[in-house]
Each structure stands twice: as C-alpha cells, then as structure tokens.
Symmetry: C2
Subunit: 437 residues, 2 copies
C-alpha cells in the first residue's frame, strides 16, 4: 500500500486470527477506523503514514474485551469487602446505589474507561443504572462498549417501574443505533430478580432489534436453590422453558451448572461471560469453564464490577482464569495460555456478537489495537508470547491503545480524558458516600 | 527530633505494627539503617533531614517480604507452562538448570532483585544452586535476603556430592555472618529428595548456627503418597519423627496436610510459606491456610520461582491469596485484606526469623519502607487502605523503596542496578537456552 493513516511498526504482531498467525517483525496499517493491512515491516517500507507508532519490538495485538462489568461501580471500589453477599449488597452496595444519578454514573464510568484504556481493554459490556450515561462516557473516552439498562421486577432509581425500563431500553437502542462505538443490549438482571414475563419480553426485544440479551445466571448455588423452589428447575432449564435461550444470549457467571445445563447452553449456542476473580472474591464458586468449552460453548472473559474484584485489569483476570481451573481440576494442562488469550479477545468478541468488528487483527475489522512494551524486567526474557501475556504481563505494560482507529493512549498518556478531573469528580462522589454512612 | 538522614513525609503511614496503627497524615524518619521515629507530619516540622521524600498523600508502609522464591529462575520465565509437573521438571527445567553456573545464577538473581524492588518487595527468601551468587546479587541490588543452597541426595551442578553441599552451606553461613542484608539458611529440598540422614544433619546445622531451616513440604498429594510408601507416614509426621520440626523450620507450600499434621506444626511452632499462585498453576492444590492460622501456625506469603507463577509481584500474590481461600471454603469473610497484608509483612518476617529487624514500621527496626502512589485511576477512590492494597494495587504502584536505610528506588527509577545491562545479560542466557533445545 502507498498511504495509510496510522502505521504501527517494528513489533511482534499477534493477530489472534483463526490461524493464530504471528508475524515476528511486523506492522499493522490503519486507515480511518479500520485495519487496512498487516504484514512484515518490509511490506510497508514505501508506505506513507500520517502517523507512525514504533512498537519497539513489543507486541502488537487486538485490544482486550471485557464481557461483563458494571463500570460506574468504580465509585464504590473498596467500599465493602470480605463480607457475605447479602450483607455486602443490602448494607453497602444498594444504599450507596440509591444515591446515584445520571451525573454520578457518568463520572464513575469515565473513571472505569480510563482504567480500562490504561490496562489494554478496548471494548467492554456493561450492565447498570442510567446506562445512557455509561454510553456517553464510553463515547467521550473513545472506548467501544455494549451497554444495557438493568431490568428487574422492582422500581429502579433510574427509570422507575419496569414499563419505563423497556421504554428506556428501546430509546437507548434507537439513540445509539448507528454509533460506531456503542451497541445497546437488553439486560434483565437475573432469573431470581426477573419474573418470567419480564424475561420473555426482554428476549423478544433482543430478537426484534437483533441486539445481545445479557443476564446474570447461576452465579451461586443459592440462586439455583431459589429458582428450583420457584420453578422446579435449574436457572438454565427455566430460561430454556420460557424460550429465552438463544445465540443472542450472553449468560454471565454460570458458576452453578449441571451437565444437562451445559448441554442445553451448547444446543442453543448461548454465550457465556466468565468472571473468575469476582466468583472467587464473593465465594460464589468456580464455573465449569473447561466443561463448557469441551461442549462447544463460546466463553468470553470478564472482570465483573470493581466492587467485587477490585480492579478491572483484564491481564490479571487472564492470569487468574488460567490458574483457577488448573487447581480446580488438578490438571495443569487445562486452560492453557492460548485458550485464555482467545477468551479475552476473539471469543469475547463473539460472545458479544461483535466478531466481525473486533477481537482479532484482520484487515477490514475495526482498528482496536494495543501495543505492549516488553522491555521490562518482569517480561524478560521471552520464550513464549502467550505465556508472557497471560502469566507475566499486567495492564500497566500496555503502552499504546487505538480504538476504532483513534489513538486513545500513547506512551501511557491518556489522550481522550482529563484524568485528573475525572479522579477529582469520583473522589467527590466517594466523599458523599462516606458522609452518608 | 532535630536531625535525621531521610524523612518520608506527607503520607498515610501504615505501620503494620501489632496494634495496626495507621497515621493519616504522617511521616517516617530514618537515621542510618534504622527507623528513627514515626508520627504525624507536625512532629517533624523542625527536623532537618538530609533527604526529604514527599509521599504525596500516598501510603508509607513496610516493604513486602517474599518468603519463598527461586530468584534466578527468572532466566527461564515462560520457558515451559501448562504442563504436567514431571514433564515440566524433567523435560524443561532440569535440562536448563544443568547448564547453569555461578555467573548465570547471579544474572538471573539480579533480574529478580530488580523485579522485586520495582514491585515493592524489600526482602526475599531464596532456595537455589550457586546460592553465593544470589547473595552477591542481593547485596549488589541492596535487597534483604535469606539465601540457602539447595541440598538433596543426588549430585548438584553447583557443589557436587552432598558432603560438599554441607561444606558449601557452612562456608556461606560464615561468609555472610555479619552482613546487614544477607541471612543464610540451611535448605534441604524436600522429604522426597532428601533421605532422613540428610534432613537430620541439616536440622543440626540449622540449630548449631541458629539459622532458618527451609524446605519444601507436602506440596502435592503425590508427594504425600510417596512419603507414605517410604515411611508409612505423612511428610510432616515423618519430619516430626526424625526430629526436624522446630520453630526454625520454614515449611514451603504445605498444600496436602492432615488435621494431625497441622496440630503438630502448631505444637512445634513450625513456620509456613504459602505460595498460592504456584500451587494453582502447577495444579498442586490449595493449602489449608485458614485452618493453619486457626491452629496458631505463623504463615508468610511467597511467590515461588517465576517459572511457576510467572511473576514475583507480591501485590498480585496477596490478591490471589485473599481470593482463593474464599472460593475454596465458600466463605467470603475468610482471609480478609488485613490478614493477607500481615502475611506479606509482619508474619512473613516472623516466618523468616527476622521479626525484630523488619516486617513493620517500628522505631528501632531496620528501615525497609515503601511508598505507594495512590493517585491513579485504579486506586481511586479510597475507602479502605487494606482492601486497596490487596485487591486493587499492583507492584507497579510502588513509587519509592528504601531497604536498610538505602534508597534503592525513587520515582520508579532503580538506583542500585544498571537494569538495561541486567536485562541484556538475561536475554543472552535465554538465547543459549533456546539454542540448546
């Protein structure tokens, strides 16, 4: 090629494409919002680029995709830890959330976007209140996002009664329909907080607009018992019966599953978001991820909100995902580094229905690209790319990030946000939370 | 006080002393190699300091203590992952180690020291070959270390036959006897690679010089079976019978224990090094740490070598230690952040017999102090110090590190090592390893 907008050169290009192509001394050309070409550096020696980014022998790879978080909960990071789930929710999280409004949700989401960019995440799926504020924050930060207003049987601080929740969601879908960064999803909270009617209607809305349907399912054994008491079935079987299982469904957590559940999930091509650190911290359990993958279920990785983690660094989540299943199965070969990297990139994109846009470096896809600086003591020496990224690297090793063709971070400088102001705003929200306690 | 060498001021001082004293707007004065005084900033307003370090409202705390690693294995980071233990050892690690010499071990240890300083570790306990090289590296880097030559029944690349191993260890003890940074330990590898005679003799040597005795014990269920076949006992019961259990003994891993083992460990005041990430990655199992602590056993945290981790960042190890036991016991209240921080500081010092020197900020103790920069998106806002350090912070948030009164890192610049040269040296070692495969 003769001309391109951005040329990232002089790096190890890890495409994460279906052949797992790696180009040792390679470059990625970006034109507009898309990846224009990929190849050895030589190929681009006569190419004029509007901007050249030197990867300095680091790794050029697709940005990581966080398939499940509650971005604005960054306002409550560390507010409550080491507690039983119901104490945590009822005594800390719900009271704090009852004071939220559009502005505060936006402030929290901006902080989370900053944290995500700084740790190599270029796309996230969110579920929360005042979700239009999250979309606006993602847009301002330049981060790709799947957003959805949480729907449940009781009144929400954000929209009031459930009828309004559906109106809110539909408006959100229409407002962001043609946005290059934002996708809207329909997001009923869970089978235990949503009656069958709500779930069915949410499924219908997702089908009508062909947008993802995102829900928490089978997060704990307690939830399974609750659903069994109500409907005489497991949560997955319940969702199957009411007709909500589909390829559009992203089921988050999926910790407490039966073999039959997994079979049904595979049959309906349900997607899963695996959140190991949250499941560990809240003592929810360990999701049967190797079993789901063996059954052919597509599993993407996610951090969950940072009140149950307490960071949203996908590199650290990859490390944990690789390790927890090894010790759980007593088999060190399960969830190898390659598999885990796929869960955080290509498979995560697929889980969100974005596989044609992002998740791997392929000409024609949107340019969601990160550059890892490997010239660091803890990344020296390097025998194996995959192992390094999963077991040794941290989000902080990401040097440069491009989303949808826009450079959002360069040499670790955030270019889209006034981070000092965002932090000051979040600290002010936190001061109010502290005062009200 | 009127004068001091170094004054770290304007921070939240987290002493980690036995009262868990926290001084919100505090300072730490260092004179020579010791902590001279600690108090609110005001107290030092008339104190002249040779050097003032502004903590900028960050956290001033004791440096972290890594109770078990194999520093020089940094040369093999990522060489072999996601493999069964015996494949990993026999096909990758042992062949690579057979090519080691004094120089290479030193190079690897220097890199590990750099990585440790950069991630807030000020003291580590090491077990490896050519351990004098590790001591020299630690000394050069300015890091406090407990070093010990590994002893086992078969010839070692470093000293040949076991007889020489004991001579090597005794010489090491004498050489470093009065060193302010280096403590030498006696380090038989494990009950499965050391016959009872060797273990008894190692115990005697440790008693004679009153130095720690460090050993791997009960790392896997396989080891327990092996020892049971040989001696008809669990590894701990075997060590008890031959008289090796004592307050000087640091037992690393302790994954596969019986209740009776824990009782005996408590009775003999045996210390434990807990290495959760290694135990997860190698699929060894989950150590019964809450049970050991309930029985009164002192447990310190460690990373193990970076071939089974693959970093030696104690902040990440704390995060994992807090989470893995929650999910293992299905109780989110176990291993709270406070407990885990103690395991990485005060209790780690105690596990190594260094509790009078380091592990907490107390006037009179050696000045092993780190400063955490909390002015970062992922550390905003701050409700709870302990939670932040365990669940949200990473080694990279450490801004400044002082060991034994010497500033070894300031504003993230390593002051004791030429890090570019160290990395180049390690890369050369890795190139040889790659060629020989």
């Amino acid at each position: 090629m003769k001309e391109t907008d951005i040329l990232i050169t002089n790096g190890i290009v890890m495409t994460m494409n279906s052949n797992e192509t790696v180009i040792p001394n390679g470059a990625v050309a970006i034109s507009g919002d898309r990846i224009a070409d990929i190849g050895p550096c030589d190929k681009f020696s006569n190419c004029r680029a509007g901007k050249v980014i030197d990867a300095k022998n680091g790794i050029i790879m697709p940005g990581l995709i966080n398939t499940h978080t509650h971005a604005s909960m960054s306002c409550f990071r560390g507010l409550a830890d080491d507690l039983h789930l119901m104490t945590w929710l009822n005594d800390y999280i719900f009271p704090a959330e009852s004071k939220l409004n559009y502005e505060k949700v936006k402030i929290g989401a901006l902080l989370a976007c900053a944290e995500m960019i700084l740790s190599g995440t270029t796309c996230f799926a969110d579920m929360y209140l005042f979700e239009d504020a999250v979309a606006e924050a993602a847009k301002a930060a330049g981060v790709r996002a799947v957003v959805g207003e949480v729907l449940y049987d009781f009144p929400s601080p954000s929209y009031g009664l459930i009828e309004e929740g559906f109106v809110y969601t539909e408006n959100l879908i229409k407002k962001w329909k043609n946005d290059p960064l934002i996708t809207v999803a329909v997001e009923p909270h869970s089978p235990y907080l949503c009656a069958p009617d709500l779930l069915i209607r949410a499924g219908d809305l997702s089908n009508e607009y062909e947008v993802p349907l995102i829900i928490h399912v089978a997060e704990t054994q307690t939830e399974v018992s609750t659903i069994f008491e109500r409907y005489g079935k497991t949560p997955i079987a319940h969702l199957a019966e009411i007709g909500v299982l589909s390829p559009f469904l992203l089921a988050c957590h999926c910790v407490a599953l039966t073999d039959k559940d997994i079979e049904q999930m595979a049959f309906y091509d349900v997607k899963v978001s695996h959140n190991p650190e949250s499941n560990m911290k809240l003592a929810s359990g360990i999701a049967p991820v190797p079993e789901m993958m063996d059954a052919g279920v597509c599993v993407g990785l996610g951090t969950d909100g940072c009140t149950s983690n307490n960071n949203i660094d996908m590199f650290l989540e990859m490390d944990t995902a690789a390790k927890i299943h090894k010790v759980n199965t007593l088999d060190p070969t399960v969830m190898d580094a390659k598999t885990v990297l796929k869960m955080a990139t290509r498979d995560a994109a697929k889980a969100l229905g974005l596989e044609n846009l992002t998740g791997s470096l392929v000409p024609g896809k949107k340019a969601d690209v990160i550059v890892i600086d490997t010239n660091k003591p803890h990344l020296t020496p390097m025998y194996n790319l995959h192992s390094h990224l999963v077991y040794a690297a941290g989000g902080n090793d990401v040097d440069t990030s491009i989303i949808n063709g826009q450079v959002v971070m360069e040499n670790r400088q955030l270019l889209t946000l006034d981070i000092a102001k965002v932090m000051a705003d979040v600290n002010q929200v936190a001061d109010e939370v502290k005062l009200s306690r």
